[in-house]
Subunit: 359 residues, 2 copies
């Protein structure tokens, strides 16, 4: 990389999403007078009688959880989308009144799931063994297959909100999966760019990017035989990572066999442990898997490449996050440290969880 | 509006930004067990010796503020972009290595300003008189003219982050203005859509939208002779508002004459007071003005229409915000109440500030 980018304000282009990000490296020289917290110990109980995700407990919707031993999946009691609802017919208006252009809407059906990662109330992905995480991966695969076979929906978005600052109200580790009758904005934009790239260059965007990152070795955080984790060239969040499958697989069903599932579990474990080690805290983030639609055209399938994004808000310490507010929302995403600086810090971190050493 | 949209999950299209938003109205039926706070009194002093924005105080960069009496503008001590920096030359790489496609960057120059709204440490826009806000508007106009005449930059983004939850660390009311050598993503996307709309329909997107909202009367929050404030059809944030100039002006310099400036100040006052009254709190938000670039093509100028956005995070109470996290970041913006429901609540609120009644 041209070293001048470590010093000057510049924009970088995200060819996957199709947008620009403003990078202001010198802003890290800003003095920080705020508080810094010490390492947090794991103080949650293994079972919490008031948690609506723990085994055997009642949920707020009234249902009772089974005495589950591994992962546990159920339909969200307050789903954002539902399987059955009345249809929405666009109003037939005189073209003169322009509302057909300016006030467009369409109905959305779907189904929302919650997946508890383990019965233990106090275990995050970073605390779980590779084998335990592999069970989560298997649950995701089964869910993908199930909704593909048994629902008419077009896309499944698997995502995890971790930590209160990322809107998670229950520390019992879980993710969600929302399936919808439409392809949502983010995967749709990525897919459009991947299809166009493929047409123009006769190759896969993420395969090409993967090869470049392996060659340049400037943004790599972790790697195994199945996956590469980088702070992408175009990262927006301070310690954002993009995790790319080394094989050009289209959806998680293609992660076949115990070894491949374990490699997937291992890279998740490595990243979440490094994240927690960075500021010696339970590192908050939103994470999500992008893959081929449940049903789509051959072109959509061919252009895809399984990857997942970790979007963590912390910037300077366990208590100081990067706010994505005025300028970011109204003008352009902006970041303070370069992706290369972030990658170097994450790269250097141990893969042994700090909490385990403290105990 | 088709009343079915009050009940079913649906998506709405934002023709200004060119994106879709998922709306899940029934999600408001979710029980809420969280805390609700009582009305907050104004407890800040009028002058705080430790505030780096108060008159006569030292700033963290070392400079001392003058004993200003009205508004006060200065160059940000920790600007995200700067007027002078070395140039960035894209690396000339073999086309085979694809980095010219996948690792693109460009240098950005610019200048960042801070504008204090008043010498009083404890006055927000909602506390200020129309005359006092008019002085802020005049300051914005002077700044626009100044950077247009005396810098080579292409765009000025004026924005305010208000409240700790919107990344604001100093309650002394102020906004920022970042000028840049490029047109940032958000105004660029809007401009592209306004230009396309104008070509196709031979009219202005926001003029047409304004007329529609005035006719339908379903999303209006406030109005005067100069401005219309609505919860737009495509609002993403719970109580988001879009404020549109009734005249098709291109930039704020066209707000000429005392009366027009006062009308602008009045609509800002009305919205910020209603916001504070909604949950009887100092309502956090990010706000920004979108207008014609400082320099651009005739086509860009002609297609523009001055408007501003208020993006407030609170959803249910002074303490409960809407988190824009996992699904929103990785799949699609999602909201829980409809824009019509939000508009009805804001519309009904008094324009007398609750704090003044408490005193
Ligand atoms: O410039 P400030 O007030 O220090 O910082 C605030 O506004 C900026 C522009 O929206 C953001 O980049 C920062 O994250 C936020 O904390
Ligand atoms: O579904 P939950 O956990 O109640 O809610 C959380 O995740 C959702 C999906 O990202 C968001 O819409 C909510 O704002 C957030 O609090």
């Amino acid at each position: 990389m041209n070293p001048v980018l470590d010093d000057i304000s510049h924009r970088r282009y995200n060819p996957l999403r199709g947008n620009w990000i403003l990078v202001s490296p010198h802003r890290t020289k800003r003095p920080w007078q705020g508080q810094e917290e010490g390492p947090s110990k794991n103080t949650l109980p293994e079972y919490d009688p008031k948690c609506y995700l723990c085994p055997r407990n009642k949920r707020s919707g009234g249902a009772q959880n089974p005495d589950y031993q591994e992962t546990y999946i159920f339909v969200n009691d307050f789903s954002a989308v539902k399987e059955d609802q009345v249809d929405y017919e666009t109003e037939t208006t005189a073209t003169a009144d322009k509302s057909s252009l300016l006030m467009r809407a369409e109905g959305v059906k779907g189904k929302c799931f919650v997946v508890c990662f383990s019965p233990a109330h106090n275990k995050t992905l970073a605390d779980m063994s590779i084998k335990e995480i592999s069970l989560v991966v298997e649950t995701w695969k089964n869910l993908y297959k199930d909704v593909q076979q048994n629902t008419p929906f077009r896309y499944i978005q698997i995502f995890e909100n971790k930590g209160e600052s990322m809107g998670c109200s229950n520390p019992h580790a879980h993710c969600q999966a929302w399936t919808t009758s439409h392809l949502p904005e983010e995967p749709a934009a990525e897919l459009k760019n991947m299809i166009e790239y493929r047409k123009k260059n006769n190759s896969c965007l993420l395969c090409d990017y993967l090869a470049l990152e392996l060659e340049k070795k400037e943004r790599i955080i972790a790697e195994n035989d199945g996956w590469l984790a980088v702070c992408p060239w175009w990262a927006f969040w301070p310690f954002e990572t993009l995790v790319i499958s080394k094989k050009c697989i289209k959806n998680i069903l293609e992660i076949e066999g115990e070894r491949d599932v374990d490699l997937f579990a291992e890279i998740i474990s490595t990243i979440t442990i490094k994240y927690d080690n960075l500021f010696e805290t339970k590192f908050p983030y939103s994470m999500g898997i992008h893959q081929a639609p449940l049903r789509g055209t051959d072109e959509e399938h061919a252009a895809n490449h399984v990857h997942f994004h970790f979007l963590p808000p912390l910037l300077r310490s366990a208590t100081v996050k990067k706010f994505q507010v005025g300028y970011e929302l109204l003008a352009e995403p902006q970041r303070d440290i370069t992706p290369e600086q972030a990658a170097r810090r994450l790269q250097a971190l141990s893969t042994e969880l700090y909490r385990n050493k403290l105990e």
